[in-house]
């Protein structure tokens, strides 16, 4: 209550003068310069958010063109050279410029310091540098695309990439190299932050599982990405100066490239899924009003996935002429790495059991994740089985498998996390009914797009082909139809989230009545997150039966 308004001396006192203290969107200025030179982890998270959406859109257009071509059996819409470029652009942009940074660099950057009661990450300037490296890398990639694209596939296999392709391989590889370096620095920042910046009382086993998963992600970022960097550099050396170590004419082995490439790229898929699992752990508990089932198991499972993920890469090379004995070892390790993932799925399910479940949008996405990730993960076991993979490799079965995990899993989780933390980030609620609708449409569209791909892959439809025999057409038509529905489902949140920035209901500090330090500060938060450093005296997910009676506020 403001008594000053009635005072005759200050009749024109603006009501805003007594309103909330400035938040991070206002503090520090709202000029372009204040954004481009920010060291505030929250602003950097938003910079990343806009950037990755930009790349997602380009990669999605490439996918749309591919799915349009595939509606009819003959390759009549684009040439095969053009098609090669399309799936390469789609893969490179989606993997390195959308999925890898998605949750870590956007939600992770935004939420991690708040979740641990810190004012910022350990190295804020390095954080900004990471974003600039991402952008620089992106510019190289865009340049490569604009000047004609690349046709090697996102996997850049030698000797095609190093000796025979006539496309802008080096420019694209440079873009990935630079962006990769940015991601290494992000991982480094998170590791040091989580070790050193936790507020008083926040011991390791009181951390939200989001932190554990992002810590595991950061381990992979830091240890795997450098190998990708040197591998791409060596490939570029061969391409530019003929300094070939993968060149068979000199006794080089193209399979060595594959070993080095997949040593990074297999753990990379865990970079791309662990953050999704991180979000699910948060939203499942909040919208079941229940403590996570088996906290320690989920925490250790995250670390186990990170570690075991490093010893499974050869399952991408079963038919590469790799030794059959190495193949058997990699098959076994691939089975092993599925175990901690399964533990997590089991624990999330048990968290739901006897929970007080509400179907807010983030929960719908979390449930979708569990279902779709399970399908993706199980089919991963099929392809991890060496003899089965000999039949399934380079077919649409593999394409479906990884899209179930990456899109059905990771993108779904990203949407869930975006909706969950949207009130915190923007200070606004999104329209709940539209959110729920989009989640459902996405689920339907996704399954229609990708389930037929399992079937046609099993029946022998090769991947990366733009023309195919008549008998596969029905599956492709279903898949393309699904893709258009999926596209609409992604467009909807894009529209209403932007709408909510101006017109959404103002969000309270804790609209979900969630536990977690990030909810103990206003929405949006002030620049330094907390007025006073929090002190923690209990574990996370301290949801109780009494609390479940509390009204969870619906947006609008």
């Amino acid at each position: 209550m403001n008594t000053l308004v009635d005072s005759p001396a200050i009749l024109d006192e603006s009501p805003l003068k007594t309103a909330e203290p400035p938040n991070y969107l206002q503090e520090g200025g709202s000029t372009l310069k204040s954004w481009l030179l920010t060291t505030d982890h929250k602003r950097i998270g938003i910079l990343y958010l806009y950037s990755i959406i930009f790349f997602f859109l380009i990669a999605a257009v490439a996918a749309a063109l591919m799915r349009m071509e595939l509606i009819t059996p003959p390759g009549d819409m684009v040439s095969s050279e053009m098609y090669n470029r399309l799936f390469t652009i789609h893969g490179v942009l989606m993997v390195w410029f959308f999925l890898i940074p998605s949750i870590p660099a956007t939600l992770g950057n935004f939420v991690i310091p708040m979740m641990i009661g810190a004012r910022d990450v350990s190295f804020p300037k390095l954080n900004l540098l990471s974003w600039y490296l991402f952008i620089a890398g992106g510019l190289f990639a865009l340049g490569a695309i604009l000047f004609g694209g690349v046709d090697t596939g996102w996997t850049f296999y030698t000797p095609f990439s190093s000796a025979y392709s006539n496309t802008h391989v080096v420019a694209m590889a440079t873009g990935v190299f630079i962006a990769g370096f940015g991601s290494i620095l992000t991982g480094l920042n998170f590791i040091v932050t989580i070790h050193k910046m936790r507020c008083p009382g926040l011991t390791w086993f009181r951390l939200p599982l989001f932190i554990w998963s992002l810590y595991a992600t950061s381990i992979i970022l830091v240890l795997a990405t450098p190998v990708l960097a040197i591998t791409l550099a060596l490939m570029a050396l061969e391409r530019i100066w003929g300094l070939g170590i993968f060149d068979p004419k000199l006794g080089g082995d193209p399979v060595l490239f594959q070993h080095l490439f997949w040593f990074y790229s297999h753990p990379a898929v865990y970079i791309m899924i662990l953050p999704g699992m991180a979000v699910v752990s948060e939203t499942i508990t909040c919208f079941s009003r229940k403590q996570i089932f088996g906290y320690h198991f989920v925490a250790f499972a995250s670390v186990a996935i990170a570690i075991l993920g490093f010893v499974a890469w050869g399952h991408h090379m079963f038919v590469s002429s790799q030794s059959i004995y190495a193949g058997m070892v990699f098959s076994m390790t691939s089975f092993l790495v599925s175990v901690p993932s399964a533990v997590k799925v089991f624990n999330w399910t048990m968290t739901l059991h006897r929970g007080s479940i509400t179907f807010h949008t983030p929960m719908l996405y979390a449930l979708g994740f569990i279902g779709l990730f399970t399908v993706g993960g199980l089919t991963g076991l099929f392809v991890a089985t060496l003899p089965v993979d000999v039949h399934l490799t380079d077919t649409y079965f593999v394409v479906a498998h990884f899209h179930y995990i990456m899109v059905g899993g990771m993108v779904t989780a990203f949407m869930g996390g975006l909706h969950y933390w949207w009130p915190k980030i923007s200070g606004r609620m999104y329209p709940e009914k539209l959110g729920q609708l989009a989640a459902l449409v996405m689920y339907i569209g996704f399954n229609l797009t990708f389930f037929p791909q399992f079937i046609m892959g099993y029946l022998g439809m090769p991947r990366r082909y733009h023309a195919y025999p008549e008998e596969f057409q029905i599956y492709h038509v279903l898949s393309s139809a699904g893709a258009s529905i999926l596209g609409a489902a992604y467009l909807l949140p894009f529209i209403y989230l932007l709408w909510s920035l101006k017109h959404g209901k103002k969000a309270p500090a804790n609209p979900w009545q969630a536990t977690g330090l990030e909810w103990q500060t206003p929405s949006p938060p002030p620049q330094h997150n907390f007025r006073n450093t929090p002190v923690v005296d209990r574990g996370p997910y301290d949801y109780s039966p009494e609390k479940s009676e509390e009204e969870v506020i619906y947006g609008q």
Binding site: L188, N189, L234, L237, L243, G251
Partner: protein, 212 residues
């Protein structure tokens, strides 16, 4: 004089936290560097295993004198670097600057000798490709690709290190470091020692395969 009141960066609560974070950050970065160079060591191991004779023959054309002297230089530069850190912790500004400058000098010697070596290597046609030196097995070119790539990347890291140390020397000259604040010196020292360690492995692998 020694500056004992350096402001703690605002994201940190106190100086010890800042120092621990800086050190941990550098160690994390060095771990990434191990994997970065590691990819090439990986390739080296595979190919030496596959073509032992070609590698031995190829290695015989590296200039052992330059390589050995350079190893001695880098090992000594690690000593001077460690002494610079010690001097900083003793608040001995004069010797911080001197030891840093010594380290920089030794690093420059390394690069100069490397430059002469590269020149001689090129004169011998040891650059892989159509003009590669005659009389060696074709797989020897793989050795030489790795030689150029590994020593080249290493030299790049030395150069970056020299830049880093120069900035440090300038800051030390202006009294920035003391027993109360010397983490940048320590952390740069870690980087420099790492660069030395990479060379400790490059030396036997590239120069000492077959010297008998």
């Amino acid at each position: 004089m020694a500056n004992s009141h350096v402001a703690v960066a605002e994201q940190f609560d106190d100086m010890p936290q800042q120092q621990e974070a800086s050190t941990l950050g550098m160690w994390t970065f060095l771990a990434t560097e191990v994997l970065f160079f590691g990819g090439m060591f990986m390739a080296y191991i595979i190919y030496r295993n596959l073509y032992p004779h070609a590698f031995a023959a190829a290695s015989g054309h590296t200039i052992l004198l330059y390589g050995t002297i350079n190893t001695g230089i880098l090992l000594t530069s690690s000593l001077t670097m460690a002494m610079a850190v010690y001097a900083a912790q003793q608040s001995n500004q004069k010797w911080v600057v001197r030891y840093l400058l010594l380290t920089i000098f030794l690093g420059c010697c390394f690069l100069v000798i490397k430059g002469f070596e590269y020149h001689d290597d090129l004169k011998e046609h040891l650059w892989p490709g159509p003009n590669f030196k005659q009389g060696l097995p074709v797989q020897a070119q793989i050795f030489w690709v790795l030689y150029w790539a590994m020593t080249g990347l290493h030299a790049l890291h030395v150069t970056v290190g020299l830049g880093l140390l120069s900035v440090l020397a300038w800051l030390a000259r202006h009294g920035k470091f003391s027993e109360h604040y010397n983490t940048p010196v320590e952390v740069s020292g870690l980087y420099w020692h790492f660069v030395d360690i990479v060379w400790i492995f490059l030396y036997p692998l590239l120069y000492l395969i077959n010297r008998y």
